[in-house]
Symmetry: none
Subunit: 214 residues, 4 copies
Amino acid sequence: MAGADAPPGRSKPASNRASRAAERRAAIVEAAFDEFVARGFAATRLDDIASRAGVAKGTIYLHFKDKESMFEELVRTAIVPLVAQIAAPPSPLVSVRHALEGFARTFIREVATTRRGDIIRLIVAEGPRFPAIADFYYREVISRGLAAMRALIELGIRRGEIRQTGLGRFPQIVVAPAIVAVIWKSLFEKHSPLDADEMLRVHLDLIFGERSTP
Amino acid sequence: MAGADAPPGRSKPASNRASRAAERRAAIVEAAFDEFVARGFAATRLDDIASRAGVAKGTIYLHFKDKESMFEELVRTAIVPLVAQIAAPPSPLVSVRHALEGFARTFIREVATTRRGDIIRLIVAEGPRFPAIADFYYREVISRGLAAMRALIELGIRRGEIRQTGLGRFPQIVVAPAIVAVIWKSLFEKHSPLDADEMLRVHLDLIFGERSTP
Amino acid sequence: MAGADAPPGRSKPASNRASRAAERRAAIVEAAFDEFVARGFAATRLDDIASRAGVAKGTIYLHFKDKESMFEELVRTAIVPLVAQIAAPPSPLVSVRHALEGFARTFIREVATTRRGDIIRLIVAEGPRFPAIADFYYREVISRGLAAMRALIELGIRRGEIRQTGLGRFPQIVVAPAIVAVIWKSLFEKHSPLDADEMLRVHLDLIFGERSTP
Amino acid sequence: MAGADAPPGRSKPASNRASRAAERRAAIVEAAFDEFVARGFAATRLDDIASRAGVAKGTIYLHFKDKESMFEELVRTAIVPLVAQIAAPPSPLVSVRHALEGFARTFIREVATTRRGDIIRLIVAEGPRFPAIADFYYREVISRGLAAMRALIELGIRRGEIRQTGLGRFPQIVVAPAIVAVIWKSLFEKHSPLDADEMLRVHLDLIFGERSTP
DNA sequence: TATGAATGAGGTTTCATTCAT
DNA sequence: TATGAATGAAACCTCATTCAT
């Protein structure tokens, strides 16, 4: 991930014990994340995580209590950046459409086309078996994200940008195509590539009542 | 177990050998489906499937080659009803809106509120590890369903019911809230119940340009 | 143990499924007992039990929940025969000395010189870490055995055979040399063989006030 | 941990390097002894010993070759005080009964009611797996102790204090109740408290032919 | 001398699969 | 066809031991 290529200038960056440990931990997190995303919780082997991270199996247990709590902590950690983006202020200065376009662009760039998209799929997949994770995800991402989205929608309605007043009650509708885009990318992209950018634009056209000009 | 050695003659309708086998197979399929949906592929134990189906573990192997092919066949089988409904003719007699409302109602009734909804989540979860399933699902459900949806949308556009012409290129947009509803039901329903019926209605209002009257 | 050499006459004794299972279970119990006695709980490997019993490792888990409950059940089972002997009636017809001599002989023959002696050492060794076992042993063996011994001692006192009236309050004193004999056999026999038979006789002489004639 | 980097000069009495090492070693021995007594050899973790001793795990290996030799050395060390007391001269000045009463008192005070009692149980438990320890224990404690006891008994016989001449051949009989008391304390004390003091007194009454007066 | 992160062999336990009945 | 006891590979996890600092 990011951070793997430290700024050049030092040959052995941070070689004291504390940061060596931090590096190892980061490597484990990195590897575990990849494996969990690729195989799901149950099918992931700690052996694979260890060898991918370049550490011994036992080393994992210096950083995590067991496979389950490693998974939970990992997913939680990975969710945090999503939260940060969502918590961005709705920027009432520009038009609501403009704000939503910004959202869409950021989402495409930072989520749909990166491994962060996979985490959404992972939560959908493992959520029912890890209620703690589903709860956390709901609390930190879903409820906040939808609240922000609702505020934006209602602003749009007040300003007359959005005519469909029912959207305020179902911000999920505004987000739905983005979710579908993420799922599509991981499952069907090879069968039929999806121009997520364009799809979200069409969706916004639908919401803001403009006619698309193909 | 019970009834296995019932006195011959007529214990149940169609109790000859061939159909007895068919019954058992159906029980296994049923049980396996429940377990796979509840736990995912890797975490499901054949032991649990067997006892839920009321057969011995070995019996499963009389009907399926192994766990993996059982899973694949199962999901394939479970998808068929979805296909049937989707392949229903777009019914050009009524309005397009009316047709889509019918779709939505059927979806809510037959998918979102039943176990068939979980199969969508299951495919999202296991798709990457079972490309054969993802392929099959794309071929049988996604591509056909989207094609039908696209035809309907274009009909709506030609008839002037739908003004947003871009939707023809992205039928996913029309389906997205239904997908989100299914996911929501399995993950977040307990945190915040979703009125899927109403949400889909608002979504149709958005598409067909009517103002919702709260 | 006993039962390994079934009565001849049939080449494959008890070859139906149920008794095959019973045989295997017996083999596991046998092997596990040997291993636990030889190494103690923690140092015993299920691998060794399995191969000594001639079964696969997994087979053990068809009969026992886990290592710990196997150990507890095993020891409990092994204790039962001790109980049976102890529950023998105090036989008031003969002299108390005679009764105690019978006890001593039986103890030497059936406990001190057999593997049942090792179980006493095993309980001493593992008791503190398996309170359930110590409790069971106290309840089934110790308390009953001491009660019976006390009754016998008091009978001896009433009959004038035993002059030391304090023994009624401490039946442990009467049993102590037998316990020591068992421990001695497993730890120090090779350094200095102990004639347990004779020791117990001397002990009885001490109790019944007779002078030993070497 | 705390105090590891104390300001040099004088943190504790005798804080030069050599004695600091000796203190650490003593702490390890102390901690190890507690752990081994509480859990037995195999179930004891070096981690626990280290943290109980307040040293790092690696430090243990500066003082002991490995777990096994640490255990052997430890038990040996712990036995030494027992030896000292046992080797005390039989004091022919007072009556033999008086000498044995002194023994009993000392045993109760210094062994049965302290951790040194547990070491007897530990040796009984681990002896078969550590022949070296059983050998050492036999050589240093058992054989010496019994020799001293035998000498005392024979003195008693010669002086006419003890009438049961067979005891000279089985000094174990005289010691047996003390052993049983120790075992009782660790296993059954909570079920039924034992007045070891009184029991040993009754036992001496038995040996010396006096009638107990309850 | 002291540390404690790292190792990896080895333990317990699970479970898909087989096969004699 | 149906069973379910048996298997054993493979998973997770522990912990004695090492070694760079």
